[in-house]
């Protein structure tokens, strides 16, 4: 399933931030989003993930295909690592968390409460959630925050395996993951302010 984004404009708080974004993400490929802070990478990812409507443009091939990893991991501190993962697996109608635990070296922590994990361990748990969803398109927002070099390598390996199995990934990151990936620079897509006299129903 190819994810095709055509001439997408996205808005944050009612104000356009990016416009004219187009790309196609084929199975087995990864696309890295780059751009300065505040340009709207998160907004773009949330729009593609279906959390907010686009201002303009079309997104095709996203329906029920996407697993989304945000800044926060959605972990419950009073549940154990295994319980957290099992929950997300069953929400997506899957079972079997062992492979995800193995991929991110969480086996030894499986009965630890998520609240007792370090920031990096939490992040690893959050990322391992992507594996249990069994969705082909991964959309990830700064996935490597608070990961050490070792864990970043673990993460890159997981992405590579996912791509080999025919999945695809759309990642906003500043780190070089060592992937063969296209890069989309969001800088040129920064939304231009509309004409000042254009005082219409949108006010802007």
């Amino acid at each position: 399933m190819t994810l095709i984004v055509t001439d997408l404009s996205v808005a944050r708080g009612g104000i356009p931030v990016l416009e004219g974004v187009s790309f196609a993400l084929e199975p087995g490929r990864a696309l890295i989003l780059r751009g300065p802070n505040g340009i709207g990478k998160t907004t773009l990812l949330r729009t593609v993930a279906g959390l907010q409507p686009p201002l303009k443009g079309r997104i095709a091939g996203a329906e029920d295909q996407i697993a989304y990893a945000a800044h926060s991991d959605g972990l419950k501190p009073t549940l154990t690592v295994a319980e957290n993962l099992t929950f997300w697996a069953s929400v997506f109608g899957r079972s079997g968390i062992e492979q995800a635990l193995d991929s991110f070296d969480l086996q030894s922590l499986r009965d630890r409460h998520a609240g007792a994990l370090s920031a990096g361990q939490k992040r690893r748990l959050g990322l391992s959630r992507m594996l249990v969803t069994d969705r082909p398109v991964w959309i990830m927002d700064e996935p490597t925050v608070s990961l050490d070099a070792n864990s970043v390598a673990m993460f890159a390996a997981a992405i590579r395996r996912h791509l080999e199995q025919g999945g695809s990934a759309l990642i906003a990151t500043h780190i070089d993951l060592g992937l063969e990936a296209e890069v989309l620079d969001t800088g040129p897509h920064k939304a231009k302010p509309p004409e000042i006299d254009d005082f219409d129903g949108g006010f802007l």
């Binding site: 949330r46 993930a49 279906g50 959390l51 907010q52 409507p53 029920d64 996407i66 697993a67 989304y68 945000a70 800044h71 926060s72 991991d73 959605g74 972990l75 419950k76 009073t78 549940l79 319980e83 099992t86 929950f87 997300w88 069953s90 929400v91 997506f92 109608g93 959630r129 969803t133």
Partner: protein
């Protein structure tokens, strides 16, 4: 869906989950009433149905701000919204979990507190029945209020302001059932109206809650 319900129940029961806080609040409020109106047992037994209903309502209200706010803060709500569950069923499950952890214990505790307030003997049955029928409406309406205010810091007070007027019909019919029951009068009309409000709220309000949540998530 069952996974979400089980997780919410588990979270409520674990340390810091807040299970029992609503119940304790209900107890405290009920105990404070005789201190404020005086210990005459005749007066207490007259106001007992209304006081117990109001106490249950406040206890419900108190626990609403955790209903969606916790999932909002740790990002679970974003992730749930991209999961294959429709938001309508997510808010319904959340309301159900709230009812099981808050509403149901209140229903079960009410007769005990009725003893403290000299509730007349015929009133116990109708008190329990009216709460059993009415607390689901309180949970569902409360979920709507929680969804409206989920993105706001210190939304708790605002939520009370929004939810309380919506609670008016449920409170009126619910406590009317309990009061008439205690006075050995016919309860059928308010009972049916209460059941009607509950059924309609459960059927329709999740759509409003989901719509509101979608707006708040974007």
């Amino acid at each position: 869906m069952i996974a979400l319900l089980l997780r919410d129940l588990k979270l409520a029961l674990r340390a810091g989950g807040g299970f029992g806080l609503g119940l304790a609040f209900f107890l405290i409020v009920t105990v404070m009433v005789p201190f404020s109106v005086g210990p005459q047992s005749e007066l207490l037994s007259r106001i007992a149905p209304g006081v117990l209903w109001l106490g249950a309502l406040l206890a419900c209200l108190l626990s609403l701000d955790r209903l969606l706010a916790l999932d909002w803060e740790d990002g679970s709500l974003d992730l749930l919204a991209t999961a294959p569950l429709p938001l309508e069923s997510i808010v319904t499950i959340k309301a159900l979990a709230h009812w099981i952890t808050t509403g149901l214990p209140l229903v079960l505790a009410a007769p005990v507190l009725g003893v403290l307030l000299n509730l007349p003997a015929p009133g116990f049955l109708w008190l329990v029945i009216s709460l059993l029928l009415g607390t689901p409406a309180l949970s569902v309406i409360g979920t709507f209020g929680a969804a409206l205010t989920v993105g706001l810091k210190r939304g708790g007070l605002l939520m009370s302001l929004l939810v309380m007027p919506l609670y008016v019909p449920t409170l009126i019919f619910g406590s009317e059932v309990a009061r008439r029951g205690a006075e050995d009068m016919a309860v059928q009309t308010p009972l049916l109206l209460l059941a009607g409000i509950s059924a309609a709220s459960i059927a329709l309000l999740p759509f409003a809650s989901a719509a509101v949540l979608r707006v708040n998530l974007r």
